[in-house]
Point group: C2
Chain length 349, copies 2
């Protein structure tokens, strides 16, 4: 049996309005009554019902966060930042995982709206993310990382074009000429912008972007793997590859290990998204890092501003990237006729 305000009021000999007053703290209550009420709450082990409170007050103190892949540390680090900020404001975060499936995303959004969350943070599954619906329903929301094409509202993102261009220029500066890219889904902003940055940097260096060097890996391990196999199998394979997210990089490295293509011996690799395991990869990965936690915090901060009606300038907040140079990149070598034995020795014999 769980007690209500009514029980507390009766025990303390006051009206429920007074109990509510001490609970919300919005009205003054005499010390005597406050004491009696707090005493009664303790005696009954009373806990307010957030559901009833939400119904009446119209706000749930919950925000929804929708991400495409909960097993990707990139997104969960963003979530940590966001939650940190939310906690400070007394809000809790309801995390929803879409697995990149827009049908699931749709259902999650429905559920969040049905539960009357105060706001939504989302990184969309594809370009069809129905954000017009969110606007129509007048719920505050902020996109992060993956925005739908053409979206102009509140959002947080990396300077994807500059990041890809920087990574590409780094490869060029090492001496690479045949550079390939495993791009992400072209339905969402990072996929598009990173490819653009790559193209621009290549053109600026007067290097050709060959069609067969541009692959789409859909941000998945599988996509990175098959793209990797394709590129390695080309008559003239690239000497360097830019991979546009961590999962695809993982797939690419698997493909290279399987085909015994040494990295960076035969092919240099640079991947988007730095994460805890990057430095323990074989070889240690050169990556484009993102300030994930800060981005999560900022997105939540913007959302809370909207929720609280602080009309700040909506728009896209851009974060800078950083290049982490490690061992997966090197100047291009001569092309070995056979790729063998260049994997780490199994034991120092």
């Amino acid at each position: 049996m769980t007690y209500t305000m009514r029980d507390v009021a009766r025990l303390a000999g006051v009206s429920i309005a007074t109990v509510s007053a001490v609970l919300t703290g919005k009205k003054r209550v005499s010390d005597e009554l406050r004491g009696r009420i707090e005493e009664a709450m303790r005696a009954l082990d009373y806990h307010p019902d957030q559901v009833a409170r939400s119904l009446k007050s119209g706000s749930t103190n919950m925000v929804g966060m929708v991400i495409p892949d909960v097993t990707n540390p990139f997104f969960t680090e963003l979530m940590q930042g966001a939650e940190e900020e939310a906690r400070r404001a007394g809000m809790s975060v309801m995390l929803c995982n879409t697995d990149g499936d827009s049908a699931i995303e749709h259902r999650h959004l429905d559920t969040l709206l049905a539960h009357r969350v105060d706001g939504i943070l989302l990184s969309c599954a594809d370009s069809f993310t129905p954000w017009e619906r969110l606007e129509r329903r007048k719920v505050p929301f902020v996109f992060f990382d993956r925005l739908p094409v053409g979206f102009k509202g509140a959002a947080v993102a990396l300077d994807n074009k500059a990041a890809a261009a920087e990574a590409t220029r780094f490869l060029i500066s090492l001496g690479h000429r045949r550079i390939a890219i495993i791009a992400g889904s072209q339905n969402v902003s990072p996929g598009i912008a990173r490819l653009e940055g790559f193209r621009e940097a290549m053109e600026a260096a007067h290097l050709a972007v060959r069609d067969q060097y541009v692959r789409c890996g859909d941000f998945s391990i599988e996509g990175g793997y098959t793209s990797g196999l394709d590129l390695i199998g080309l008559p003239t394979p690239p000497t360097a590859i830019l991979s546009c997210n961590n999962k695809m990089t993982l797939g690419l490295m698997r493909a290279m290990a399987e085909k015994k293509a040494p990295c960076p011996g035969a092919i240099s690799v640079i991947g988007f998204d730095d994460f805890e395991w990057s430095a323990n990869f074989s070889p240690r990965l050169t990556t484009v890092g993102q300030p994930t936690r800060a981005m999560g915090r900022k997105a939540m901060e913007m959302l809370l501003d909207q929720i609280n009606g602080h009309q700040t300038s909506p728009g896209i907040v851009i974060f800078p990237s950083g290049l982490n140079i490690r061992d997966s990149t090197a100047p291009p070598g001569e092309m070995p006729s056979e790729w063998t034995s260049s994997l780490p020795a199994r034991s120092p014999a």
Copy 2:
């Protein structure tokens, strides 16, 4: 402006009770009225308010899931399994991350209870997890992975003792005698049971468990790192190390790389928790794998059973582990006086 059942009822020319009837589907409604009502709902773009519904019906169709580390793929894979199962039952999952901090865990539990979730899945931050409180409040709950010591209720866990013993026996079978363990927190079940399994396997083989070979890494990267440094720095270092979770293994590998201790040349490593990146580590990691998704599904299934009052036998469901033998384990070699140059070559020169 958002519409309510009242508006739908008025537009369709029926009572709100009838609208509710078609919504819940628990009562029969004539085809004619049903048609008019559905039409009206569509016209107004009506969406039921889950908050109000929860208040009246007493159930929120939400379950809470509390985990110690949202950036650990082990837990998020469990979450995927759990969510899959929840979705099938029309429930949504509210994920809470404690960062292993029991104060935060406490707050999360409060929030979940306040929001009147229908049930809670949790992996505890430490042994002080207040599960008596959950029992007192009569909310269904199921522990997974990390249970508090002495807990006897519904739970899902790995057969930790057997898993640790198997891993240890494998190292012994390779010829190792000086085997160390980086154990997890001794406040929670996996930490304790894995150490126990290690001890039993060692004793069964009549091998000594030296005190200085038993380190506690608290399930963190940092803990694995410092434990690793300690072990490597010992006058007589071990020839093999069993690391009790993925984060500590990562820390250990960092320590070894830093100290230029070749793996498996000088020290073999076997780590708990297999995950996507394991096979791309340097070297490819030998691991104790867990059926994470299945465990997540099972935990949720048990929770839903409790919620729906299907009184199944509560108790602990144990899952078996699997050994993934890769390149981080090998027979012990002679001990090199100096550990150098055995890391993967930076480039094939």
